[in-house]
Amino acid sequence: MQERLKELQQEAIQKIEQSSSLKELNDIRVAYLGKKGPITEVLRGMGKLSAEERPIMGALANEVREAIATTLEAKQKDLEEAAVLEKLASESIDVTLPGRPVKVGNHHPLTRIIEEIEDLFIGMGYQVAEGPEVEQDYYNFEALNLPKGHPARDMQDSFYITDEILLRTHTSPVQARTMEKNQGKGPIKIICPGKVYRRDNDDATHSHQFMQIEGLVVGENIRMSDLHGTLEIFAKKMFGEDREIRLRPSFFPFTEPSVEMDISCMICGGHGCNVCKKTGWIEILGAGMVHPNVLEMAGYDSKKYTGFAFGMGPERIAMLKYGVDDIRHFYTNDVRFLKQFSKHE
């Protein structure tokens, strides 16, 4: 009997070790450890044994049972692991195939430039002021020291609707309106972005519609040095800390003194290239101290108040910053153009 049990143990363990599937393993379990299995049978025959032998045989039978069960368990674990590995292997994919695209659009490059400038000046305490694109001659010209018949009106051939109403030629009327609204009181710190219109034929460098962004500061002791400092901060934040600025005297009817600002060329670093016409400098914006006539017309005492204003073209800035070579791209909206402006920089 003892021998028979040992034999069974050996036989079962051998079968377990040879088995290759969970099903086979289960069959072995049923065959050896089941109620109708040989061990149960051996135990059933224990009645014939003496009272002394019985516990010894019982213990031995349990030992055999346990040994088989342990081996079974171990084998089952092995087989299960193998099955998982096999399944995983069959699930492998080509990780080099392209992913599912996430549909996402982006800002128009001009909006991108304008928001960047807005944020920069908001950080310096400015508010964003907007105004109508269809304007009165008064706000577009007269309130800006450009009376009817002024030769500088030649410089801005305009789209008139009636004798007194036109498409604004710059965003400066927003400044005139803001000053008028403030009824002769300061301080004012605004930035005015928007669309403007001029009677130009559309070509690589001209557009009958374009953007402008202007700034205005009016207060009781605003100095030209404040303009200088403000423009330097703007230029460095917008075009890079290593940019240098240069101010040149200029002429605008609504400012006196008037200024044009150049920045050192970002393409060649100031050594001279085609973009800067070999000068090392690139013209970026016009500015100046608000003309006393403009202040007075808007109800400010020009003895008490001074101010500065500046204005620039987002198209020009975008063209310089991104190397765009034709202004018409901004209004054609070719998606191959638009989608290039998604990247953060």
């Binding site: 909006t111 609707i161 002429f251 006196e256």
Partner: protein, 804 residues
């Protein structure tokens, strides 16, 4: 204005300052130098040669075989193709080894079998612009005066060893439209003296007033008219130095008399006019307004019809010049002229501007009058011209001038305090600093206490007010030397308005949803202006459009956006999603500003989603756009305020379009573009929306409040309903919601079936209803009770029965 560096040295010492350094200094102190042209750049080896013999080339009709003495021993043989080459001429010879503009190297060559050792040059071959080459040399080589010395540098003789500064002048600096004006400016910048040109007239013993009388009937337009007479002039070429200076300044030489008037125009900024005295037809000059319809033949041989807006110089009867603009053919100086009547006058800017604009005659002269000449320089310019005519045209200058002068010249006197200067610029200049600057400008300065009184010379008509003085001080002090500070005073909060901030949110949201931002034109054509308009208004039309396509302000963004889709579609991008925010313009009547309403428009065409290698493709449909809008309104907290109403909109699909209502007001539409229009534009199925962004963004923002997360489970009941085909989901949902009461938390559609397993005219629509009580767990019985009410309401109010 083109300024010759060499010429400028007649008036101001430029030693130690190169042309490019000068350009930099001028630019930094106020006048932009747009370029410096090195006239002899890339030219070497050109000398004066003497054509000692010229014979016909044996093998070529149009070539000459010349023996040319170039001052290097024996004459060299040069083959020349110019028709005007002749024996005895002094010419410019590019010798073997010479280099001409464009890196053109001169080599020894054989031309039709004959040896050629160099090239006889035309002026254009030496880099002179064709339009300023004197007419007699325009078809051939240039010929020097006989006194030119053989073998010397021809480029130097032609004054091409010079640099020309191109000044970009702003309208306020018309004073620099003259060499003298530039000299004063440069003198101020460098702190150097200005030397005035020589005038040394030795009049003959006859009076100009005996030859001519002057009357002016229009004193306001012409406050000063001076006529000088120079007799016995011999018309011929001007001296070479004068011709070359004109050429460098961009003016073509003609003859000595005309060239002298042009030379003075450049030197003094004062336009002059020379009449042939003998052709005048009278001894009288009368300046008057033209008669309406009066005819006049200008010297360019064009007959002009004048109006009373135009000022004319007449001989008492008929016009002989259009004042300040152009002379007449009838009195033009010719090669036979012997007596010159020289006009030096002051015409006002407005008069000349009107005439030059009306007749399309913009000239160097009219430009100067338009911008204003120096009233104090008019007579001096006339005297200097007379002097030069005596010297270079052999003329005899008659004594004095016939003159009408009603001009009162008052130089501007402006006072300012030192404190004002420093407080506006932000500097700490002393009185001495400021005084020195004005002295450099040759302005008269008077200082009393801290008040600085400046008298500006009449050549600087732009100096009128305190701020003009501040600018002069600032620019000569140097803008770059101004300190860099930031405004001080009460701080202002920098921020966007609510409206502006929400507009940015809208943009970000739409871009996150996959739409690209477009920016299109506000001006459109009559055909497109009214398409898709939310409101019908009168067109706002430009008075003078540049084209019919851009003549009317848009009433809707949509046509422009569809244009964008069409453009891209035609370039292999037929699946595309774009949006735009911008104003549309609603007329309010003729003399008032229109209402500018900011709109938002979106358009999606072709595939909305595709994943190529996985074979997934999903074309855009109505619900894609509606989903985008629902997300947008959710973001803005307007979900409850917005409804969609089936509607018909022009140019939109009649069955696939909804109006968007905000609090019951129509603010826009969403749907499919009408298939006919899609076809016209060559677009795939295209869905669009446009709405008043203004209306949306002006809705008050509601505060965000946290809502407790439910602690008790919900119970979901699904129902499939059979309803008439026309019954819309929105109605069923309303019925379910009102019958479901407080316990019904959510209703969602999960199936729609309209197939042939349904009875004719019916469809099946399935909803999932979620019941919940935040305070406790609901029992099945409680839910059943409410759910039964819902089913009952559906049946009675919407004729909906449960699908069997």
């Amino acid at each position: 204005m083109f300024v010759s560096y060499k010429w400028l040295q007649d008036y101001v010492d430029l030693s130690g300052v190169s042309a490019s350094e000068l350009a930099e200094k001028i630019t930094k102190s106020g006048i932009e130098v747009e370029g410096v042209d090195v006239l002899n750049e890339g030219i070497t080896g050109v000398v004066v040669g003497h054509v000692v013999e010229r014979v016909q080339h044996p093998n070529a009709d149009k070539l000459s075989k010349c023996q040319v003495d170039i001052g290097q021993g024996e004459p060299v043989q040069i083959i020349c193709g110019a028709p005007n080459v002749a024996q005895g001429q002094k010419v410019a010879v590019a010798t073997v080894g010479a280099v001409l503009p464009g890196n053109f190297k001169i080599k020894r060559a054989k031309l039709r079998g004959e040896e050629s050792n160099g090239m006889i040059c035309s002026l254009t071959e030496l880099g002179v612009e064709a339009k300023v080459v004197p007419k007699e040399y325009s078809e051939g080589i240039f010929v020097f005066p006989q006194d030119a010395e053989v073998g010397t540098d021809a480029i130097a003789l032609l004054n091409r060893n010079d640099e020309v500064l191109e000044l970009g002048l702003t309208p306020n600096r018309a004073d620099c439209l003259s060499m003298l004006g530039v000299a004063y400016e440069v003198g101020a910048i460098l702190g150097r003296e200005v030397k005035l040109p020589e005038i040394d007239v030795q009049p003959v013993n006859e009076k100009a007033s005996d030859y001519i009388t002057v009357k002016v009937e229009a004193n306001e337009d012409n406050p000063l008219y001076a006529a000088k007479v120079i007799k016995n002039v011999k018309i011929g070429p001007a001296p070479l130095w004068m011709q070359t200076r004109l050429i460098s300044a961009g003016i073509r030489p003609h003859n000595n008399v005309v060239d002298i008037t042009n030379y003075i125009l450049l030197e003094y900024g004062q336009p002059l006019h020379a009449f042939d005295y003998d052709r005048l037809g009278s001894k009288e000059i009368l300046v008057r307004r033209a008669h309406d319809g009066e005819k006049f033949l200008t010297l360019d041989d064009v007959e002009r019809t004048l109006t009373s807006d135009h000022l004319v110089i007449t001989n008492g009867k008929e016009p002989v010049a259009l004042a300040g603009v152009m002379g007449g053919a009838n009195s033009e100086v010719t090669s036979d002229t012997t007596t010159v009547l020289l006009e030096a006058a002051y015409f006002t800017g407005g008069t000349v501007r009107k005439a030059s604009k009306d007749h399309g005659l913009r000239s160097e002269a009219s430009a100067r009058f338009e911008k204003g000449v120096d009233p104090n320089r008019v007579r001096a310019a006339g005297e200097r011209a007379a002097y030069l005519m005596a010297r270079y045209a052999g003329g005899e200058v008659l004594e004095g001038a016939s003159e009408v002068n009603t001009l009162t010249v008052e130089p501007a006197v402006v006072s300012i305090t030192l404190e004002k200067i420093n407080s506006v610029i932000g500097t700490n200049l002393t009185v001495q600093d400021v005084e020195a600057i004005f002295e450099r400008l040759q302005f008269t300065v008077n200082v009393e206490e801290n008040v600085i009184t400046v008298t500006a010379p009449t050549r600087r008509g732009d100096i009128k007010i305190e701020e003009d003085l501040i600018e002069e001080v600032a620019r000569l002090y140097g803008y770059d030397n101004i300190p860099k500070t930031l405004p001080i005073g009460s701080a202002t909060p920098g921020k966007l308005s609510d409206y502006q901030e929400k507009r940015r949110i809208v943009r970000q949201y739409l871009e996150g949803a996959g739409l690209y931002q477009a920016v299109t034109y506000s001006l459109t054509s009559e055909e497109k202006a009214a398409q898709f308009a939310l409101e019908k208004r009168d067109f706002i039309r430009l008075a003078m459009p540049m084209s019919e396509d851009r003549s009317i302000l848009r009433l809707s963004i949509m046509p422009q956006l569809l244009e964008v889709l069409k453009y891209n579609s035609a370039r292999q991008n037929d699946s595309l999603a774009v949006y735009e925010t911008g104003a549309v313009f609603l007329a309010n009547g003729n003399e008032v500003l229109p209402e500018e309403q900011e709109h938002l428009a979106g358009a999606v065409t072709g595939l909305w989603h595709s994943h190529s290698w996985q074979g997934e493709k999903k074309a855009v449909d109505f619900y894609v756009l509606k989903g985008i809008l629902e997300g947008l309104f959710a973001k803005l907290g307007l979900t409850e305020s917005v409804t969609y109403v089936q509607a018909k909109v022009d140019n939109m699909h009649p069955g696939r379009t909804a109006e968007i209502h905000l609090n019951g007001e129509r603010i826009g539409f969403v749907g499919q573009v009408h298939p006919t229009m899609q076809k016209e534009l060559d677009l795939k199925d295209t869905y669009v929306f446009e709405l008043s962004l203004k209306a949306v963004l002006e809705e008050a923002t509601t505060a965000l409040r946290y809502e407790a997360i439910p602690r008790f489970p919900s119970i979901t009941r699904d129902i499939a309903l059979v309803v008439d085909k026309e019954t819309v989901s929105g109605v069923l949902k309303d019925v379910i919601q009102s019958a479901g009461g407080k316990l019904l938390k959510e209703v969602s559609v999960f199936d729609l079936y309209e197939g042939d397993r349904m009875e004719e005219g019916k469809k099946s629509i399935a909803y999932s209803l979620k019941y919940m009580d935040p305070e406790r767990t609901l029992t099945d019985e409680e839910v059943t009770k409410v759910h039964t009410q819902v089913l009952e309401a559906l049946k009675t109010q919407a004729g909906a029965v449960l699908r069997g």
